[in-house]
């Protein structure tokens, strides 16, 4: 795994991190770009995420969050640039990269006709778990996401919150070192949100986690670092605490940075 100049993430420059490698960087994204025709959805995005970090991925709708996550998960081929998970390039070594990754796609898609257990058993088998181990993994993932009560129900009969948790359970099944979760708390009630945040907090020390969210309080609650992305570009990369300096709320920072789109990056915070 490439490693170079180490930097305490808390002291990192507020500007896009560029090519700094953290010592234990499990996610490395370098100059990632995605173009759809003439439209550039993700424009030269670079960052790394180390073990123990929880990165909050923020930005207005259509800013390129999901596209970046899809490229990181190896679902969408990048137009330019590279993404590596635990040192495995997602384009050149897709299977190795995906083994180290737990991914919750946008909207938490699942097969509606399958039961919760059936679906998770399927994912466990694809991930190479057999027999008793597969059974234990599924039971453990269901316990983490509190799905035991609905284990035999067809997924299509579940509420939105349960469906989201089935998707989450699938991502946690193999205890991956890297978690990429696209809006993990969308559609959950406040109790469930709290539960999922606590779960992310508990897992954080041993993993590199990226979550995208629209809920800014969530960034405060669980993230050690926040990236704000707008029009496909990273405009801020800093710990949430630092963004809130000078008594401004995160929401204010978000609005300042993303409403004046096209403005010079980080005018306020860099000062």
């Amino acid at each position: 795994m490439p490693s170079g100049a180490c930097g305490d993430p808390a002291l990192a420059d507020l500007r896009p991190a560029g090519d700094t490698h953290l010592a234990d960087a499990l996610i490395e994204i370098e100059r990632l770009t995605k173009r759809f025709g003439t439209f550039t959805a993700v424009d030269d995005v670079s960052f790394t995420v180390a073990r123990g970090e929880v990165l909050g991925f923020l930005g207005p709708n259509g800013a390129g969050k999901s596209t970046t996550m899809r490229m990181l998960a190896g679902f969408m081929p990048p137009s330019a640039g590279t993404a590596r998970i635990c040192g495995a390039d997602v384009v050149d070594q897709p299977v190795a990269a995906k083994r180290s990754l737990g991914f919750l796609p946008e909207g938490a898609p699942t097969y509606p006709e399958m039961s919760v257990t059936g679906f998770l058993r399927f994912c466990a088998r694809i991930r190479g778990f057999r027999g008793a181990e597969s059974y234990d993994r599924v039971a453990h993932a269901m316990a983490l996401t509190q799905l035991e009560g609905v284990r035999l129900q067809p997924i299509e009969t579940l509420s939105k919150g349960f469906k989201r948790r089935v998707g989450l359970a699938q991502a946690l099944l193999h205890d991956p070192p890297v978690l990429v979760l696209d809006e993990p708390t969308d559609g959950l009630d406040p109790n469930q949100k709290h539960e999922v945040r606590a779960l992310i907090g508990r897992m954080a020390p041993s993993k590199a986690i990226v979550i995208s969210t629209h809920i800014l309080e969530e960034v405060d609650a669980v993230c050690t670092r926040a990236i704000i992305i707008a029009r496909g570009r990273v405009i801020v990369d800093a710990p949430p605490r630092e963004l809130e300096r000078e008594g401004r709320s995160l929401e204010q920072v978000f609005r300042d940075l993303t409403l004046g789109e096209g403005a010079a990056p980080v005018p306020a915070v860099a000062a």
């Binding site: 995906k98 898609p109 994912c123």
Partner: protein
């Protein structure tokens, strides 16, 4: 391979947990039976064989198999599960092969359920059961060829109707290529093309199987045909999965 079998198992269970399987099987059995006894003159021929049944299979599958394959990838796209499936640690070919195998086994089940016809000829006469077996093998290979075409086209388009119509059209080309109308037309004008058309025809190869002939070149043809379209499926899927 294990991953492919896991995908196949899930798919096959999926067929039977929705009405798709039952509608397909019932319609297939009703149509194949009706055609055999009416247009096929099953009784009036006075021969103990399943030729009347087999002769309709390429034409019946022409419409039923694309109906099965049109949803293969389009449905994954609609549900968004394609993103889940293709971010699990399995190579794309395993997903392609798994889906194909499930659909193929399903066609095999539908074919196996025509066993009352086989019982009937065995009660009424003394058919050559070897020929019947090779006939069924031919049916399965035709189903496999159509499935491979349909699956590749399903990966190429989001729209199920387009996938269905294109699959019927392409399958039709491969059936009709060997029919006398086409080959006679071609041999009058471009003899070289007539040979090529006959060599590519699914129906021509299939007829060998219904006569009890299992030629190595026909097996190689079907294996190559299915392999080619599955490869195409994997390429198209890789190219268009995120569209």
């Amino acid at each position: 391979m294990r991953a492919a079998l896991t995908v196949a198992g899930r798919e096959l269970a999926g067929y039977f947990s929705t009405p798709v399987a039952y509608v397909f099987i019932v319609i297939f059995l009703v149509l194949s039976g009706a055609l055999t006894f009416t247009l096929g003159n099953f009784f009036a021929r006075g021969q103990a064989d399943l030729i009347p049944f087999f002769s309709f299979i390429p034409w019946l599958f022409l419409f039923l198999v694309p109906a099965l394959t049109m949803r293969l990838w389009a449905e994954e796209r609609r549900l968004g599960t394609i993103e889940l499936l293709l971010t699990l640690p399995l190579p794309a070919w395993a997903a392609v092969l798994g889906k194909f195998l499930a659909a193929w086994v399903f066609c095999g089940i539908a074919l196996a359920l025509t066993f009352p016809l086989w019982l009937t000829v065995n009660i009424l006469g003394e058919p050559d059961n070897g020929v019947i077996l090779t006939g069924y093998l031919g049916c399965l290979l035709v189903a496999g060829a159509y499935l491979a075409i349909g699956a590749a086209l399903s990966a190429a388009t989001k729209n199920q109707v387009i996938a269905f119509v294109l699959a019927v059209a392409v399958c039709f080309v491969f059936v009709a290529a060997g029919s006398p109308i086409v080959t006679e037309f071609l041999s009058d004008r471009i003899p070289a093309l007539a040979e090529a058309a006959r060599a590519l025809s699914v129906a021509d190869r299939f007829n060998g199987f219904t006569r009890g002939v299992v030629a190595l070149r026909d097996i190689v043809y079907f294996a190559g045909f299915i392999g080619f379209f599955l490869f195409l499926n994997a390429v198209v899927l890789d190219h268009r999965k995120a569209d």
